[in-house]
Each structure stands twice: as structure tokens, then as C-alpha cells.
């Protein structure tokens, strides 16, 4: 196996950025020439031509770079995880083109989740949360599937501002990369490839005149990758370096704090109003920031910085104050952020 070095990490990052950048441009042109445009509705924040080709471009970029890394640097990803993620990407493509109904999409997500479970990584332990450690296999698989649905849909739901989903994904990949690479180098190159693909997409996502969105392809594809690595971290058979720094479940929540809290808040508010939790509206926290006058990039960057600060604060504090007080600290910071920036 080729060892992960700074040089090959940087090379694959660069390769991925370039591939993604040009693929995004090319596929945008193909979509706009064929009038496959994102419809402008009353909820849309864009009024110019925009396509939902970002997800497809990111997907293809990752596939191309993965193929190169597989043949040159022996990058290995579990075949079931690969299959499940591919299935999610295809579901996303179908959704972007033909608008798959929510119930059908939900069923397909469950199916993809079951495939990814075959990779052997499950949330088989609560790692001491509520004093619970190992849980029975059946329960572990059910919880894993539930978490898969939550993560995939949460990422889908926060994909409402330019750069927001991309920045959250970059943060996730960067923090998780260190943990996975230190444990097993065989999946190591996947991270620079993913970060590069998202960076290449971000340049087009922030473009005002030729805007590209992730679409369902991107959020489902990248969401399922995020879910897979979450299971990898939470699977108790992996001895991970993160155990010396912070509780694994707390880390996983913190690295995805914005999608999870926003989704929970939105579902609670909609349920309180006796609406379907899946109805589309503008009550997300990021919409609040935009309504307060922040531009998209400002709102995205603010959410990215604030959520990263919570994670870093917990990484520093956990050794000194333990799990309970870290949860208290996180709740406190969330309330503080809400009153300072979102209210």
C-alpha cells in the first residue's frame, strides 16, 4: 500500500479541485444549453440562471479521482459502502431530473442505508452515553439506519444557502480525515479527494451569474458518505485516536452540529404548527440570517465559523471537564449564538 504523505495528499487535493472545477463548468453549460434549470419560486434566493448540476459534478469528480487513486495509490473503500453511496447518488440524479416523490425517496434511502450497513460498521455502542455501552446487534442496526436517514436528510435540508453545505462538508471531512487516516491509511486519500471536489464546486456555487447548486445528487451522495464515516467512528471495534480526546458520539454530533440542530429545530417547529416535518418553507436558521440582512456568503461563513468554534472548544475542554459539562458547554454556546446572531 502506498503510504499517505503530504505530497500525495496535496497532489490528490489539487487534482480533485481542478477536476471538479472544470467538470462543474462543463456540466453547467450542458445543463443550461439544454434548459435544465433550477426553477425560480417564491422561496428561491436566486433569480438568475442556476442549475442543479453541482452534485453530479462532485460525484463524477470523486469517481474519476477515486479511480486514479485506486490504481496508483491503492485507495481502498469498502465495496458495500461504495455501492450504497453510488445508489444514493443515482437516487439523487433521478430526483434532480424527475422529482422523485418524498415517500419513494425515503424508501430508496432506507435501501441504500441497508447496503451501507453491510460494510460492517454500525453504531453498536453508545460509548458510555446514559451509561450505555454495547447494544444488541438488532438494535444497533436499527439505530444506524435511523441515523443514516437523519444525516442524509439533514444535509439535504441545510442546502439552502450558497456555500453552506459545502463548508459544513469540508469541516466534516477535515476533522474526520485525521481520525480515519491514523487508524487505517487505506481510505486516507478519499478525504483530500472529497475536500477538493467540494472546493471545486464551491467556486461555482458562489458565482452570482452562473450559479450551480448541489441539488439532491450532491446532498444525498455526500450525505451518505458523511453517514458512512459517522458509523465508522461510532463502531466500537475501531480503536480510534479520538477516544483520547473526546467522547465519540459527542464528536460526531459536534462535527455535524449545524445540520442536526437546524433539522431538529425545524421539525419541532413544523410539528408544533401541525405541519408535515417535510414541508418546504423558510424557517431554517440560515434563512433567518439572510432575512436579517446577511449575504449568503456571510451567513454561510458565520455558521461555519461558529460551529467550528463549538467543536474546537469541546476538543480542548473535554479532558478537563468531561462529557456532562461538555454537553452543558455546547448547549450554553448554542443558546448564546442564538441570542447573539440568530434571534
Amino acid at each position: 500500500m502506498v503510504e499517505i504523505t503530504f505530497i500525495n495528499t496535496a497532489l490528490f487535493l489539487l487534482l480533485s479541485v481542478v477536476t471538479s472545477f472544470f467538470l462543474n463548468r462543463y456540466i453547467y453549460n450542458v445543463f443550461s444549453n439544454n434548459k435544465i434549470l433550477d426553477p425560480i419560486t417564491s422561496r428561491s434566493s436566486h433569480k438568475s440562471v442556476a442549475t442543479r448540476s453541482g452534485g453530479l459534478s462532485v460525484f463524477l469528480s470523486i469517481c474519476i479521482c477515486y479511480a486514479i487513486a485506486y490504481s496508483t495509490a491503492n485507495l481502498v473503500v469498502d465495496p458495500y459502502a461504495f455501492l450504497g453511496v453510488m445508489f444514493m447518488a443515482i437516487t439523487g440524479i433521478a430526483d434532480d431530473f424527475f422529482n422523485v416523490r418524498y415517500r419513494e425517496k425515503f424508501f430508496l434511502q432506507i435501501f441504500a442505508g441497508i447496503i451501507i450497513l453491510q460494510a460492517g460498521y454500525t453504531i453498536d455502542s453508545f460509548h458510555g452515553i446514559f451509561g450505555i455501552y454495547e447494544i444488541p446487534s438488532g438494535l444497533a442496526k436499527t439505530i444506524t439506519l435511523f441515523v443514516f436517514l437523519v444525516i442524509v436528510n439533514a444535509l439535504n435540508l441545510i442546502d439552502g444557502l450558497d456555500g453552506l453545505a459545502a463548508l459544513i462538508l469540508i469541516k466534516f471531512f477535515l476533522f474526520v480525515a485525521g481520525i480515519v487516516i491514523i487508524n487505517s491509511q487505506e481510505m486516507g486519500l478519499f478525504f483530500p479527494i472529497s475536500v477538493g471536489a467540494v472546493l471545486g464546486f464551491m467556486a461555482h456555487n458562489f458565482n452570482s451569474s452562473k450559479k450551480v447548486f448541489l441539488g439532491d445528487t450532491g446532498s444525498l451522495f455526500l450525505g451518505s458518505i458523511v453517514a458512512f464515516f459517522t458509523f465508522y467512528i461510532l463502531d466500537s471495534s475501531n480503536d480510534l485516536v479520538i477516544d483520547s480526546f473526546i467522547s465519540r458520539p459527542l464528536f460526531c454530533i459536534l462535527v455535524l452540529i449545524y445540520p442536526l440542530t437546524d433539522t431538529l429545530r425545524v421539525i419541532l417547529l413544523r410539528s408544533f404548527k401541525r405541519q408535515s416535518p417535510f414541508v418546504a418553507d423558510r424557517i431554517h436558521l440560515h434563512h433567518r440570517l439572510v432575512d436579517k440582512g446577511y449575504r449568503h456568503w456571510e451567513a454561510s461563513l458565520m455558521i461555519f465559523i461558529l460551529s467550528t468554534l463549538i467543536l474546537i472548544a469541546n476538543l480542548f475542554a473535554f479532558q478537563f471537564i468531561g462529557l456532562f459539562f461538555c454537553v452543558v458547554l455546547t448547549m450554553g454556546l448554542l443558546v448564546l449564538y442564538y441570542y447573539l446572531f440568530f434571534k
Binding site: L37, P39, I40, S45, H46, K47, S48, V49, E134, S137, D162, G163, I170, K171, L174, F175, A177, G178, I179, I182, N183, F206, S208, S209, S236, S237, D239, V241, I242, D243, S244, F245, V290, G293, Y294, R295, H296, W297, E298, L301, F304, I305, T308, I312, L315
Partner: protein, 453 residues
């Protein structure tokens, strides 16, 4: 020829003792110069002299060995020495023996637990402990302590991060207050697969806290069958590990984070688990020519050349800390780059027939304001006279027209600034004629006509 000379040279490092040991036996270290070779009939007390030769004395047992030992081979016992004496543990744990008054006597009031096969039996502060092991289809990482009063074993609570799924066929090193465990196998509940663990763990016996020290850099991929047959011989603060198929052995010293590899020639007798080390000398049994007896043999490692020295573990914690610094720098650079990019970014506004807007919102405009924007749009500079023409009214004086134009632009800029946080229309002195003023759209702003789908 060179190989033959090397073999002869290496063979000169061995010393063969005179004591032929019949039947099964167990070698146990006594102190820094002596050791016991226990058989079922008696014990050899052997001493290494200065030249590496073994001087021995045979002492038959006063009483026969306990009946529970009849069924098993002596070398399947685990042995440890404390200041109180030499203790033996029955395979799988439970039954404890002591070498006392030239006899092996049973001192427990327990039973054969069969719960911690291949666990690490050691003494600490005159107490006996058993760590990890395999039994009843599961691997364990827990620690049990022998209670000399009750004669039974008690489980000791440990803290920190122990190996999650237990330790089977591990390599252990006891060094001061610490026990190191590495190169072991774990089996998840319900799984039939023995998964090899690539990490080094430390259990601090004074605090009973587990700590994962890092990932082994020199990680053996050999399976559990080979590990069972491998020799694991404590050597001071380290451990000698030799797999039967290898023509070399390694000395692991976690305290110094060091692995030393010693290459062996083919002619050297194979040593198994039933071996000890005294100083730099390894003591083990070697078959006689007719294989009916064993000779106790020594190798002086001090005379062997170290083939390779390397780090034992990668300090994962340190590595992850360094990685976090890298991530922090990357994120700061990303944030600063985005911030700089957008601060210098050309903001696009879309102008329709009654409003101007961008992602921040829509500002309704008057007819006059729209007319002004229509003139300024897509032009680098617009002369004052062009704008005045827009408000030309034969019934009004020139002064009135100028004031009206100025008021409309000023009000528009104020309205625009209040809404979007920036001025849109700039007034400058013309470069061609310093008496004239020109109007332009702010540099980092671009106006586009609304493009409706």
C-alpha cells in the same frame, strides 16, 4: 564459506548445560542470576556463572504435585515471582499454586475458571493479577486479582480506554507500575473472527487507568495460530517475541519506544514459550539428539548484533494534535480567503422595471431612479450633461433641473446604502475637464438587467 564461518561464530554464543531434563518442565526465573526448572518430580535450581555456564542442583519435591496438575502439561502453567515466592496459575485462571518448602502446593479455594486463557499472570505489590484472556467464546480485557484471604479471584475495576473487545494471545510487558499490552487479537461478541489489534495499550497499576499509547509501526500480520506458537519472553523492561517461522526475533521496549531486531542463523535451536531471560541471556530447553531429554541452553543476546532498530509505536495522540493544528490553519486560510475574495468581489445587482435587487433583498425604485440607472448601466462614466438631459423640462430653470437631479441621486444613494450597505452612484471630477463632473457605478458593483426565466 562466509556463511559457515558465521554459523560457527554464532554457535559459539551458546552454552549447553549438563542437566538433561526428562519429561515436561517449566522454566521460571528466580533472580538476576538464577532460575528454576520445574518438573513433576522435582525442581532444578540453576545458576549462571560469570562465563555463562549453568551450575545446577536438583531438589526432588517433598510431596507429590497436586492432583489437578496430573491432567495438564507443566509448561501450560503461567508463572510469576513476587517477594513472597513463585506462583503458578492453572490454564484459564482460577487455580493457584505456590512453590513452598520444596513442594508445589495449591493455595486457592477456587476452581478452574477457564475464562482467561492466554491472559497475563503477573505480580504487583505482592499481589497476583490476571489480565485479559479468552474463554467461553469471548475475549476479555478485564483485570482480576487473587484474594489471598478467601483464596478466590476478584475483578478489579479499571478506567480509561481499555482494548474494546478484549486481549487474546497478547504480548505483555510489566515495567514498574505499568503493564503494556500489544500485538493481540480481539473477538467481537457473536463474531467468529479473531481481529488483530494494531495498537499499544498501557494499564497503569497505581491508578488502574488504561491509556492507548499509539499504533504499532512494526505490525506483524501473522495469524492467531502462529501467535500461539510464538515465543514471548520477558527481558527486563522489554519483551522478546519470536515467531517460529521467522529467522529473527524482536525485542520490544515500550518504555523507550524501541524495537530491536536480531537476526538468527538456521543452526540456532528453536526456542518456544518455555523460556526466560536473565540479563542479556535467554534460557530455554533444546531437544537432545534422540528427543527423549531436553538440554537447557542459553543464548547471550549481548553477543548478537542488532540488525535493525526502529520506533515501536507512532504516537497517535501527538500525531492527531499536529493534525488538528494543520486543520486549524487550513480552516483559517479558507475563511480568510473567502472573506478576502468576497470583500473584493464584484456584487451583482439585477435591475427590473421597478426595482433593484440581489440575494440580500429587493429595493423598490421610483421611475426617475430607474431612468438614472438605465443611463449609468454598462457605462464606465456618464457625463453630468447626459443625466441633466434626463430631467430636462422647458418650464423649469436650469438651476432647478440640476437640484432635482442631485436630489434624486442623493436620495437614491441614501436609500440604497440603508438597504444594501453601500453607495451605488459615485460622483467624480472628469479627468478630461476638471470643471465637469461625471457619474459612475461603484467599482465593485455590476448592474444587470433582470433576466426572467
Amino acid at each position: 564459506m562466509i556463511k559457515k564461518i558465521l554459523i560457527l561464530f554464532t554457535l559459539s554464543f551458546f552454552s549447553y548445560s549438563q542437566n538433561d531434563v526428562k519429561g515436561e518442565y517449566l522454566i521460571v526465573q528466580n533472580d538476576s542470576t538464577s532460575f528454576y526448572t520445574f518438573t513433576k518430580k522435582g525442581a532444578y535450581f540453576s545458576k549462571l556463572n560469570g562465563s555463562g555456564r549453568i551450575i545446577y542442583d536438583y531438589v526432588p519435591y517433598k510431596n507429590p504435585v497436586p492432583k489437578s496438575l496430573d491432567r495438564i502439561s507443566l509448561n501450560s502453567l503461567s508463572a510469576t515471582r513476587s517477594s513472597k515466592g513463585i506462583y503458578f496459575l492453572y490454564p484459564g485462571g482460577g487455580i493457584v499454586y505456590k512453590y513452598l518448602n520444596s513442594s508445589i502446593v495449591r493455595i486457592d479455594d477456587s476452581f478452574a475458571h477457564r475464562n482467561q486463557f492466554s491472559g497475563f499472570f503477573f505480580s504487583y505489590n505482592q499481589e497476583l493479577y490476571l489480565l485479559g484472556g479468552y474463554g467461553y467464546w469471548a475475549t476479555k480485557s478485564y483485570l482480576t486479582k487473587f484474594n489471598f484471604q478467601s483464596g478466590s479471584w476478584d475483578r478489579i475495576e479499571t478506567y480509561g480506554s481499555p482494548p474494546k473487545h478484549g486481549i487474546n494471545q497478547g504480548s505483555f510487558i510489566k515495567d514498574g507500575d505499568s503493564v503494556f499490552a500489544f500485538d493481540f487479537f480481539s473477538k467481537k461478541t457473536g463474531s467468529a473472527v479473531n481481529e488483530k489489534n494494531s495498537s499499544l495499550f498501557e494499564l497503569n497499576l497505581s491508578t488502574m487507568n488504561w491509556n492507548k499509547k499509539g499504533m504499532l509501526l512494526d505490525f506483524s500480520e501473522k495469524g492467531i495460530e502462529e501467535k500461539i506458537m510464538a515465543a514471548k519472553i520477558p527481558k527486563g523492561d522489554g519483551l522478546i517475541v519470536k515467531y517460529q517461522s521467522d529467522d529473527f526475533f524482536k525485542v520490544f521496549t515500550p518504555k523507550n519506544n524501541l524495537v530491536s531486531t536480531y537476526k538468527l542463523e538456521d543452526k540456532i535451536p528453536k526456542f518456544g514459550n518455555n523460556a526466560i531471560s536473565i540479563g542479556s541471556t535467554v534460557v530455554f530447553g533444546s531437544n537432545s539428539a534422540d528427543k527423549t531429554t531436553k538440554k537447557i541452553v542459553t543464548i547471550d543476546l549481548g553477543k548478537l548484533n542488532v540488525d535493525k532498530k526502529q520506533q515501536m509505536v507512532m504516537d497517535q495522540n501527538q500525531m492527531f494534535k499536529r493534525y488538528l493544528v494543520f486543520v486549524f490553519i487550513f480552516l483559517v486560510l479558507l475563511t480568510v480567503s473567502l472573506f478576502t475574495y468576497f470583500k473584493n468581489y464584484v456584487t451583482i445587482f439585477y435591475v427590473s422595471n421597478n426595482a433593484i435587487r440581489n440575494e440580500k433583498g429587493t429595493l423598490l425604485l421610483t421611475k426617475d431612479e430607474i431612468s438614472v440607472l438605465n443611463i449609468l448601466i454598462n457605462k464606465k462614466e456618464t457625463e453630468n450633461s447626459v443625466l441633466l438631459n434626463l430631467f430636462d423640462d422647458k418650464t423649469k430653470s436650469a438651476d432647478s433641473i440640476i437640484k432635482r437631479k442631485n436630489k434624486i441621486i442623493k436620495d437614491f444613494n441614501f436609500k440604497f446604502f440603508s438597504f444594501f450597505g453601500k453607495e451605488l452612484i459615485l460622483k467624480k471630477v472628469s479627468k478630461r475637464d476638471s470643471r465637469q463632473v461625471v457619474y459612475s457605478i461603484e467599482n465593485r458593483t455590476k448592474l444587470l438587467y433582470e433576466e426572467m426565466p
